[in-house]
Subunit: 288 residues, 4 copies
């Protein structure tokens, strides 16, 4: 790893059992290595005495290189029995987008990607259908089709995993990908797969949530972005939003209106991830 | 029934199988009897060919008295095989409020009642606990305590029903009343009992929804006002709203924040009912 | 005009001084010509005794052709001294999009256009800069560049007007077009030019509203879509929305977040227009 | 000052020119005196190199008493040339409510006060009218009437100021108080007077904002809570919120709907103040 440390920011995400003096010691550490703290947010879950922290600091005057930061910090982290990681602004997360036939979430992400709203790279788009290839082509991003049937799923997923590994993918975004991933795939990318579900979870899990919403007669529809776990639609929630509807809206209207929610909610979840703002705390997320 | 027809408004709520010419005939009828239409809203559920209509008109120049309106309109309604009712602005709906120990929804309703936001009368408040009597006293509204145990429930409910009948109650509002009403009670007041549930239904039915919401890690909490049916928390929804929360909010915070939602959502549902805006359409509501 | 009347909907937009019997007579008219009313919304501004109405009806069983509808309805409209128009679902409004260098509003409109959310045609895009031509090319829409300087403005606008006339343009959408149109241009397309302003009007008129918002320290930013009149940012408002911000947001953040508002607010305003839902009532709009 | 330090929380609000190591030194200080940090939020305004910080810590194991904290911390604050203050959870802010004739904001505050949502004391209510005395009486809070005319204003304000001083008032809340305070009064309570204005500032300053909103034809109304400065409606904004309206709403409807906004926005601003969350930064506020 070679990097110019000018204008590089470091991000520490850190959790441990709560104890006095954690912030003092960590900020002292950053001060000593010449880091200038830009943003600091901490939270103590007092029921569970669970401490979590995100610090962003600028490394322009750092007295140690980024490549040494991990090993320099490790002893302090061990002292607190912490889970932690350090990310750098010049090491872009590598994101794979999975799609099927709907284009709205993909288009939204690509537009923001193009506007440089995200500090990520998108080396590939994967789909079980060829339909959205023209969009990938226009964006200059390789588009890989892996058709999935019940029979071919294991081998196709194996190929996908191999490809994702080869390309050093950090994050998988399911942008209305209409296939359930196997437990094997999910374990491979634990807390690294973001999905968009077209309802206000936990309401209307599973298929056809707009039809369910219509039939239940709710006065608002929603969308939920969450990490994918082996329990369908049960993973830790990252972001949700809703929209008011009325008795005049048909199921078709809900689908149309819901697209706007899906786009924006998935886009926000990806932004939080790309800014290293998310810590998974059991079945919940902390979004700093 | 004697009434001054000056400045009285009539409200027609009307549903029937869809057909051509319904609006034409009904508005023609109102025109002929000297009514001046103030507000008209119609909706056709095209899947089910279900027509619904609300018309409000002023009776200042009416050529027939309010007391004759029902029988005069009936032949037209029969022609369309309709369900319908006509209400008058000078016949206030008589509302009973049911409470337990939480006062926020009751206070909200009483404050709005006092501000004349609702065109209703509240002849009594019923509770299974004596705690909120001082609030009722301050408002000058009789407060009846019917303590409920598993054993006494049938007889206590029978007394409540008798009292509600005696006072010609049109609507029962459960303002955080912490008792499940019996099927018998519910049948007695079909589509005439409004409840406030402290979650975004259908998420988190049953008890402790804020605890459920906390544990699921949702990013928004909600409240839902609905008609009470025999299936707990499954009745037709009248109004819902939500509020954003974060990982910093404890269950106690959710309870506190949720109070604001419960108050406002129940208050709106009661406003819609008091303005004769709601038609129940199976498991759903039309709120004009 | 030849049209298949199967599945054609007609839309009447109608305003007049308030009087008894208007709805009755108009719905009677529609009934007699075999129209089936799908949607009806009326409003009486009681202060000004101003009546307004939108009716949508299906013409599948119409006893008169669409081409005769105007002259058949005219006598009734005269009786009420009305302003009115009738539109048909198979006569798509022809919309010209004006842009400068920002692409987000244009992209949003084109995506929805492509998804068939709007019942419109976009025969051309006009810009004072060549930058967005590739987007127009990808969408297969002619892109005309009219560079504007203080000196060339009158002649360039004259060319634009000629082109818009030639192409029978019904509506001009300023999708972050960074030029003030001359009074002459505005008069030519009275109530036919929709703008998006990047603030919650009437706050922050004129240039740099995000900078103004930052400096004033507001806790929410907004966007406003309005008809263009000769008074800058003073035209009748069609739609507005807002987004919460915090002290952490820089002007750059406001610009980025505001893009999402601008897109959605302009998109909604165009939807309302394309569905024939808007009546201008002096300095205000009625959006049915 | 005597206090039990068990379960007392301390709150530091701290601003200074930005520099490396501030957080490290302050958290080190808190660690050394046995404080357990519960919440820490910092912000650097990078344009102006302005650093701001809020830390809440528990003093159960504090090695120095609260009474010594100020002098112990002072040298560190001087090192950074800081503005700062330390507050304690067991020293309730003393709040005076000013009202005129509208009761909704007062009722809202008193209900929350009664629910212990605020960690404050309300030793008195001041009004220029006797109307709301019964509400104060019911809450057991002294109610002082100071009728104001143009002539009597200086002497009446002088009496008010004397009374506020005598009662050690920390904060004045104008809960729809319909009098403009004199510059003298405002200087006396600099950044200690919170007002609620019934519009989305900077839109519709001055009188009759709902009438202004109606006439401008906005699609949303708002309310704004801000600190009072000598420039009317120009003080630093603490909180804002909005509500959607339609062409059907009359001015009277806006007034009624706006009451809900005014109540909630003022209630939130008071909550932020009571939790020591607000720092005034020139014309803006930082709300941690």
């Amino acid at each position: 790893m070679t990097m110019s440390e000018n204008n590089v920011n470091a991000f520490l995400l850190f959790t441990c059992p709560d104890k006095n003096g954690i912030v003092a010691k960590i900020t002292q550490f950053i001060y000593k290595i010449g880091g200038n703290i830009i943003d600091l947010d901490e939270h103590v879950n007092q029921n569970q005495q669970f401490f979590s922290l995100r610090i962003a600091w600028n490394m322009s005057n750092s007295t140690i290189p980024a490549s040494k930061l991990h090993e320099t910090f490790e002893p302090l982290a061990k002292e607190f029995d912490a889970h932690w990681r350090i990310e750098f602004s010049n090491q872009k997360q590598r994101v794979a987008i999975f799609v099927s036939k709907y284009d709205h979430c993909l288009q939204e992400i690509l537009w923001r990607y193009n506007m440089s709203e995200y500090d990520i790279e998108i080396p590939l788009i994967i789909s079980n259908h060829p339909d959205l290839k023209p969009i990938a082509d226009a964006a200059g991003i390789p588009y890989h089709v892996f058709p999935i049937t019940k029979e071919t799923k294991p081998e196709q997923e194996a190929k996908e995993i191999a490809l994702l590994r080869e390309l050093n993918i950090d994050l998988v975004v399911l942008a209305r990908y209409m296939q359930v991933l196997s437990p094997n795939f999910i374990r491979e990318f634990k807390n690294k797969i973001i999905n968009i579900h077209h309802s206000f979870l936990p309401g209307f899990v599973g298929g056809n949530p707009y039809k369910q919403a219509y039939e239940r007669g709710v006065k608002m529809i929603g969308a939920t972005s969450h990490f994918v776990t082996e329990d369908l639609d049960e993973g830790p929630i990252i972001e949700q939003d809703i929209m008011r509807i009325t008795h005049k809206d048909t199921i078709k209207d809900l689908i149309r209106k819901g697209r706007d929610l899906e786009r924006i909610v998935l886009a926000r979840a990806l932004a939080y991830k790309s800014e290293h703002r998310i810590i998974v705390d059991g079945t919940r997320t902390i979004v700093f």
